[in-house]
Symmetry: C2
Amino acid sequence: MTDAYTRLKASFARVATLGEAGSMLHWDASAVMPPGGGAARGDQLAVLAGLGHELMIAPAMAEDLAAARADGEWDVANLALMRHAHRRATALPVALVEATERANAACEKIWRTAKGTADFAMVRPYLAEVVALQREAAQALSDVLGLSPYDALMDCYQPGIGVADVEPVFAAYEAFLAEALPRAEAIQAARGAPLPLPGPFPVTLQQALCQAMSERMGLDYEHARLDESMHPFCGGTPTDVRLTTCYAAEDVGKALLGVLHETGHALYERGLPAAWARQPVGEAAGMATHESQSLIIEMQACRSDAFLGFLGGELRATFGGPAAPYETTNLGRLWRRVGRSFIRIDADELTYPAHVILRFRLERALIDGTLAVADLPGAWSEGFSRLLGIAPPDDGLGCLQDIHWYDGAFGYFPSYTLGAMAAAQLMKAAKAAVPGLEDAMGRGEMAPLTGWLRQNVHAQGSRLGFQDLLRHATGKPLDPADFMDHLRARYL
Amino acid sequence: MTDAYTRLKASFARVATLGEAGSMLHWDASAVMPPGGGAARGDQLAVLAGLGHELMIAPAMAEDLAAARADGEWDVANLALMRHAHRRATALPVALVEATERANAACEKIWRTAKGTADFAMVRPYLAEVVALQREAAQALSDVLGLSPYDALMDCYQPGIGVADVEPVFAAYEAFLAEALPRAEAIQAARGAPLPLPGPFPVTLQQALCQAMSERMGLDYEHARLDESMHPFCGGTPTDVRLTTCYAAEDVGKALLGVLHETGHALYERGLPAAWARQPVGEAAGMATHESQSLIIEMQACRSDAFLGFLGGELRATFGGPAAPYETTNLGRLWRRVGRSFIRIDADELTYPAHVILRFRLERALIDGTLAVADLPGAWSEGFSRLLGIAPPDDGLGCLQDIHWYDGAFGYFPSYTLGAMAAAQLMKAAKAAVPGLEDAMGRGEMAPLTGWLRQNVHAQGSRLGFQDLLRHATGKPLDPADFMDHLRARYL
């Protein structure tokens, strides 16, 4: 352990603390900010990002990174992650970082209106600016990291994973889906239609139920809060997690399963190693890992027969009505329904990867420059038809649906499907490791699962990369076969 | 106009934008943050304050300040304010600024519990740390500004105003009060007791009424929001003002008049010159000026017979019941009731200055070192008895009641009474300048008043100091006689 390394730990903690401030202001902008605050908020986020960047590129930091030595597995990993973060940061000039934050904030604001009116033309020039800045950043990162420009962007979200990892997995899934989807649809059609849950579902009751179920997963609301926003997300910091969702008076499943999903993210943040807080090695191990934690809660655990058996009783106690709609079989038919639909966040887990595969291909083309922003709606329709056999009637149901691109997040989408695959693999390993895990879920007891996750995933921070973390937790790197086995068992 | 000055404008805008981020996080901590977020929030605010401070003390800024020249009244004033701010900032080492933010946040958190249980001992060591750091800061500022340590702290809140301005005014008021209070009490006792308003006052109805009345004052909720916190305040930024209040189910006046008070602050922020946003000259002209704007709305306008006549109708339409309690005379007796009480924020406008005079004397002694933190509760009791003839039964009703000291705000309190006096003076001038102003208030129309305020106070930013601003708006510097005339007319 050297003085240089000690100074680096303090500097990185400062940058992380500044990042926490930005994270809170992002939450505020999405959950509570009056519309007139948007312009100033963009400036605030730009200044915070710019200052964080300046701290990273200060000459003293480069000197310390060159001189620092660390001992012990965690510190060695921490120093390596510091060096990687520094290489990324020094690749980007301050002016580009600030311009990006500003363009993202402006575009996101317009997108909120454009999405509502399905008016792509309204947001197009803003998105073009966002894409231009992303391409500039991707090129700069590419030069420094020795990755392709798009891989360099992916590396922001899931370090160490690139197109070469993703493309074969996605191609295999496309082939699997072409066969599995018609079969699953036929099986489903042969069954009776599910009974709808007897509404109404007053929002105040939904809110209370969502928070109660989130607490049942193990989330402590002394360190969290649940609010509403247009696009649900989990933000904030490890000791102050901010979850949002979006309530629909006619559909309790939408908000409830959404909150359970965000709760998986929140549990990961809460379970990160506190001793390494604000250090690179104490952070979550990338977005695919993060998504594996939301999906293991939402898709693997909460949509399982075992947990649905418990949840049905809670739902009936909250909203009342006859017993039949709340039975496990019926809830499974309602909430594990497969089908071809336009909206990613409403998609079932079988077709969801197709939504991601489309976005992966389109965003890669936008960054490579082989697709112009003006041609995005057409390319979207064409690609969607090829994958799922239907084309969206308007851009609100197409390329305007997700916040990611309009907020400058390119290279993120593959993480969703990598995470879904990892979630299946982790659940298989957890069940093998913890006797009675499934029975406990049937009683609404999640501690056997979440305890295993905390120990084997959350508490590991970023000590291990995505593949090594899976090796550590499950004995093998990512193996999409576990996901396909899960889908076959559930739908075929 | 020089390049140096242009660079300074950009630098000060950056510091101000960082301050906006801090302001939002302060609001968040008070209005929505889960309790477990407190520790990290303290760190976040400390880092933001530290970075803002570093930007201020950067060598390039000192060079630019030495070289800069500005033309035109506003730019000349702006440059002078920059130099003053720089002198203040360079007086304080970064470590002291960060330690202060951290100690304030820790103390404020404990205070929230200590106040609830009236347990001064619980918060005493935290307050001792806050006071020690304030004394250190005061001494450092004193050396640089050539003011006494306490004057140097006052200068943070109301530049250019010190003990020499305040002490004679407060002594005169103490003498006035000794005679006026018993007379006002006797007059009040001779009248019938007011009828209580017929409750209940459901919080959701109160919320809607509070916002509607706030909008009626001219506040645009596209740029504002209204939430709840333990201690009402107005925070945020000029384009995103955050008001808070505290609802009591049994008393609609508490929240309503509180919101009208904070609305006065909010209108000031909204009316600041947008062309000078994030520049020192575009900021509010000190806390006494700010308080004059809240009090001219709450005390001068909204508690006037004219406006109460309008408000009674609105209240009855909201909460129902017989007409008599809502009549102007009765509302006046309810909401202009004088009396000796323990809580400053509940005090009437006649006794309120006594609460301030006590705090002024005690905080001055804490900073001068002639009063130890451990002796504060005793000194409070003694001082309160001398001023108002009663002593608080516990510290919750005494020295624990206000957030200010526990958040490190020493030198702030005098602003409340300077503001009350300025409000009376401004109202007298506005009535003289705008024909029909009072009749308009009787119809609930506030534009004649707020238009005059916007032009003569808000839009002036910090171009003029407190006394010169009053000269500009009313033709004379602060003249407490207008306030005493107002009190005589209303209570004697």
